[in-house]
Amino acid sequence: MTVSETESENRQSRAECVAEEALRPHAEHAFAGELAALAAVDDRPRPVRWRLSPWAVATYLLGGVLSDGTVITPKYVGPRRIVEVAVTTLATDRALLLLGVPGTAKTWVSEHLAAAVSGDSTLLVQGTAGTPEEAIRYGWNYAQLLAHGPSRDALVPSPVMRAMAQGMTARVEELTRIPADVQDTLITILSEKTLPIPELGAETQAVRGFNLIATANDRDRGVNELSSALRRRFNTVVLPLPATAEDEVDIVSRRVDQLGRSLDLPSVPDGMAEIHRVVTVFRELREGVTADGRTKLKSPSGTLSTAEAISVVTGGLALAAHFGDGVLRASDVAAGVLGSVVRDPAADRVIWQEYLETVVRERDGWKDFYRACREVSA
């Protein structure tokens, strides 16, 4: 899905912002050259305080060749429609909610959108179960507060408040992890476009150009569902999982390779076949239909995201390297697959066994996988 920064891009960005020396430069720095080139050729109308026109923002994300020959690398590989709806939403006064299971590049898309629209992707609130109201509204500098009493100087604005004042794009990550009462502070901000400060009898009004991008995981357990009042203020875009098995195998094997290196796992050759199988199983169960499209299946309660496939394969690699014969085999991944599929011991187990008996058993060349799974499922 995402096109991670390749080596050459990294070098280029490093050359451009030598002063940064950051481990991971922000999107607006890493791709400053592309953004500048886009701004130069972009002659379409821009909404107030936008750095680029909506068309140019979409081009920045989807990639393309500009009229002056500059090549814009694709940041998001997926349906064009999704990016177009997302960009268009930011141009209206509705906020944008990016939904998707883990590993579908929600954060990545949100960062690049903010970078292209406002030239700044750092106005960010990271949502957690402990995110307080201050992180979304404002806090106080208590030394100032005690010394001089309540005043604008004693106020510590949140990223959202700053974005409102400057007409920029604010970002909220993992919105559904934030407690419901804190989430709801966004309602006034998004509908009235104002942030009252009762302590000062004042308010901060959003200026034109302000908007908000939130990301959320839509199939996670234990999240705080958005209230309907809040949901109504968002246009929702669901980022899909990789469209084809090949895309997904590609993503999994690349990430597994990176992870394996950082975990110092011995490299295991010929793992592709097993990766292919894991991805196939995940996709089939997730989509509720076999890869050949002939048999329908029940879907288990787990998300079976690409991210989980990656961890299953990585776990299998560690098993193969440390306890096996160094070759990734069906028996190394079977337990991991079982653990990902069977989240609900009653219902999911039936689904898994049905799948094993009706699909896996009949499949050519899957005998070892079938046996390994039977063994761990018993």
């Binding site: 109504r232 875009v237 009706t358």
Partner: protein
């Protein structure tokens, strides 16, 4: 005006339709010529009828072969329909000018293998930088507001098509040249009659061929010696869904509902569309406020602007609806697509329309089978081994599938599988039903097949599809069977209730057997049945855990039915093996109710899968003092329910029951008494008496098999008297020659 007014359109294009109306209003021709079969001229008057409501289709079929047919569907927003109605309302002469159906149907049978049609609009769209020709057409023609001169767009389009025709010629379809020659001939005669006051409405592709210079002699030469068949035409009601099909005009459309909306909305089409969508979602209990509608309209507009389109099209509105009203989900979008984008409009045709071919086919079949429709109710006994009777049965089953309830199956007096009883009665309104069923096809068999396929796609309950599969076999619709089987396999895969699967399996096994008897190919069926059995094997043990009394009783009937069905399936050995494994697990799992456990042990014992000692061990465990008495009694009911001979024959088991019963505590005894009564009351009187005798005698009294004899009989065996019964037993078992077999029929 110079020459006839040529209005090139896209079939079913709402913008074209509107443009045609404007052009006709401006030119006010005295004759309107429309692309369509000229035989339809006689039926044109019906188009003005009050009772005629589009979508309808002009249907042409070969008289002796109704299966060979062609449709010219017309929706309210079809330019052809608009032209027809305009002509009829304004007193202009309306004529169809395409090649007569009697020729085209004769030719078509040979033509159909022709390669893919060159897509003229696709080429134009590509030249304009569009990847989707539909969208290009929408932007350039359909979404264009009425120009100052309503004829201008047609002129521009005609020029573009002329360039295309130069490049592609006949587009790989030689028959088009013949059709165009005929159209020119008709056009010439109309011009002779009405001068230049003639308008022609036809597919844009044909415009250059009608405008170009061709001599009448060359056209006559092209039209000479065309094959000809006898055809009949009529109007039939049509549906939006079927507009998507390719037939007649050859142009299927994906979104008739959207087009209909574009055509009928007086202004602000997007706003009105979003309001419709919101109304639909509200009716489905989704919260959609006016604010949602406003935002969706704005988003669609902004999207269109970003994509450089003059107006939001279906793609933009759909994207906006998804993001604003559906929270990014595609599930409600499916509903919107079904109900609005495609739409459920059903056309109506006046009663005066000629009979549909289905009616003719029915009459012919009835005559062939010597089965007259009579208003008086009568019984019909069919012997399916006879050719005619089998045909009658098929016809009646097919009609039932089509909702034409001429015959109702009655309880047959004979129990043989080759006999069927029907109660026949032809009600006058059945003719109406036949006319309605005309949308499904032109022959009874074709229509029934189409109906079965559609029913299978629409059915939600598993049981409904299994009975549909049974019906397909009875009605002998082999073409529908694969579709029904697909639907069945899909439903079975997604159904989480094992009880549903267990209900479906016996019917399926029956169907399979029936298919074997009739020699129908049932390969797909067997595969589905095996899959179903596999799913039951996986799902049954968890489903049996923690059931209450009623649930357990229900599950027991399923258990019995599945057990019987398993034996009827192909490859019984492997399945049986698996099934016995499942029974074994059920028998030994504590969370499973006693009733089911007892039943499972019994089924295993009857099948010889476990020995008597194992059964005794199971019973001993189930009846051990720790088990709640009610549960133990339920176990007994499951184990010996439905016949007590087992207890009579196996004294060890009887001893276990006896021992348990005497050790039940007095207060618990009143609880288990009703259960035991229910179990033992079902036994025959003789069995009960024998059991009583055995219990009174006490265990271990019996000395040896020869002496004590069978329970219920006196001691000692009179071999001579016993032998007397042997010949009759042999007769019953069919051990004699075939001569005796015939006589044994009367016992069966």
């Amino acid at each position: 005006m110079t020459g006839p007014l040529l209005l090139g359109v896209r079939h079913h294009g709402p913008g074209s339709a509107r443009a045609v109306r404007a052009a006709l209003e401006a030119a006010r021709p005295r004759a309107v010529l429309v692309e369509g079969p000229p035989e339809g001229d006689a039926l044109l008057g019906l188009a003005a009828d009050e009772a005629m409501r589009p979508p309808v289709a002009l249907l042409a079929h070969v008289v002796d072969d109704p299966a060979r047919s062609a449709f010219w569907p017309m929706a309210e927003f079809s330019p052809e329909w608009v032209a027809l109605r305009w002509g009829l309302e304004h007193g202009a002469q309306v004529r169809f000018i395409d090649l007569p159906a009697s020729h085209s149907l004769a030719v078509e049978s040979a033509e159909e293998e022709g390669g893919p049609r060159v897509d003229p609009l696709g080429s134009l769209a590509e030249a304009a930088g569009y990847d989707d020709p539909e969208r290009w057409w929408e932007d350039v023609v359909e979404h264009r507001d009425a120009a100052a001169d309503p004829r201008a767009p047609f002129a521009a389009l005609g020029e573009a098509m002329a360039v295309l025709r130069e490049a592609y010629g006949d587009g790989g379809h030689a028959v088009d040249l013949v059709r165009e020659a005929y159209m020119r001939t008709q056009m010439r005669s109309a011009v002779r009659e009405f001068g230049d006051q003639v308008a022609v409405v036809c597919g844009a592709w044909h415009v250059p061929a009608l405008a170009g210079k061709f001599t009448a002699a060359a056209d006559r030469a092209l039209l000479k010696g065309l094959p000809k068949v006898k055809t009949e035409l009529t109007w039939v009601p049509w549906t939006h869904r079927r507009l998507a099909r390719r037939s007649g005009y050859g142009a299927g459309i994906d979104s008739p509902g959207w087009y209909g909306h574009l055509f009928s909305a007086p202004d602000r089409p997007v706003e009105r569309w979003m309001t419709k969508v919101a109304g639909l979602l509200r009716a489905e209990d989704r919260q959609v406020s006016s604010a949602h509608v406003i935002e969706a309209v704005r988003l669609a507009g902004t999207l269109a602007a970003m994509r450089g389109r003059p107006l939001p099209g279906l793609a933009e509105t759909t994207d906006a609806v998804r993001a604003v009203m559906c929270e990014g989900s595609d599930v409600p979008l499916g509903l919107i697509r079904e109900r609005l984008v495609v739409g459920e409009a059903l056309g109506e045709v006046p009663d005066a329309a000629p009979a549909v071919p289905l009616q003719r086919d029915l009459v012919r079949t009835q005559r062939g089978l010597r089965l007259k429709p009579e208003a008086l109710e009568r019984e019909l006994e069919l012997d399916l081994r006879k050719e005619t009777d089998a045909g009658r049965s098929r016809l009646l089953h097919r009609l039932r599938l089509l909702g034409i309830g001429w015959g109702e199956p009655a309880q047959s007096r004979s129990t043989g599988t080759f006999r069927e009883s029907w109660r026949l009665r032809w009600e006058p309104e059945l003719s109406v039903r036949v006319a309605e069923a005309g949308v499904w096809g032109t022959t009874v068999s074709g229509a029934a097949t189409a109906k079965a396929e559609s029913d299978a796609a629409g059915a939600t309950a598993l049981g409904a599809i299994t009975s549909l599969a049974e019906l397909c076999l009875l009605a002998e619709l082999p073409d529908a069977l694969p579709v029904v089987m697909r639907a069945l396999a899909d439903r079975a895969a997604l159904d989480t209730d094992v009880a549903h699967l267990a209900q479906a399996l016996p019917a399926l096994a029956r169907t399979l057997r029936y298919g074997d008897v009739r020699g129908t190919t049932t390969a797909g069926l067997a595969e589905v049945a095996a899959g179903l059995a596999e799913r039951i094997c996986v799902g049954l043990p968890p489903a049996c855990a923690g059931l209450d009394g009623d649930g357990a009783a229900e599950m027991r009937t399923h258990l019995d039915a599945v057990h019987a069905a398993m034996g009827l399936l192909p490859d019984p050995d492997r399945l049986r093996e698996r099934w016995c494994g499942v029974l074994g697990r059920l028998a030994s799992r504590d969370t499973v109710p006693g009733l089911i456990r007892g039943r499972a042990v019994r089924l295993l014992l009857d099948d010889g899968r476990i020995a008597g000692e194992d059964a005794a061990r199971h019973m001993g465990l189930a009846l051990s003092p720790g088990t709640p008495p009610a549960d133990a009694a339920a176990w007994i009911e499951g184990f010996v329910g439905g016949g007590g001979m087992l207890l009579v024959h196996d004294e060890r088991l009887l001893g276990l029951v006896d021992g348990w019963l005497t050790s039940v505590a007095p207060d618990a005894f009143t609880d288990v008494l009703p259960l035991l009564r229910r179990t033992f009351a079902a036994y025959e009187a003789g069995v009960r008496r024998t059991l009583g005798e055995l219990v009174r005698r006490g265990p271990g009294v019996r000395t040896g098999p020869g002496d004590a004899g069978v329970p219920g009989f006196g001691a000692g065996l009179d071999a001579a008297r016993a032998d007397a019964v042997l010949p009759l037993v042999a007769l019953l078992l069919g051990r004699h020659g075939s001569r005796d077999l015939c006589r044994s029929d009367s016992f069966a």
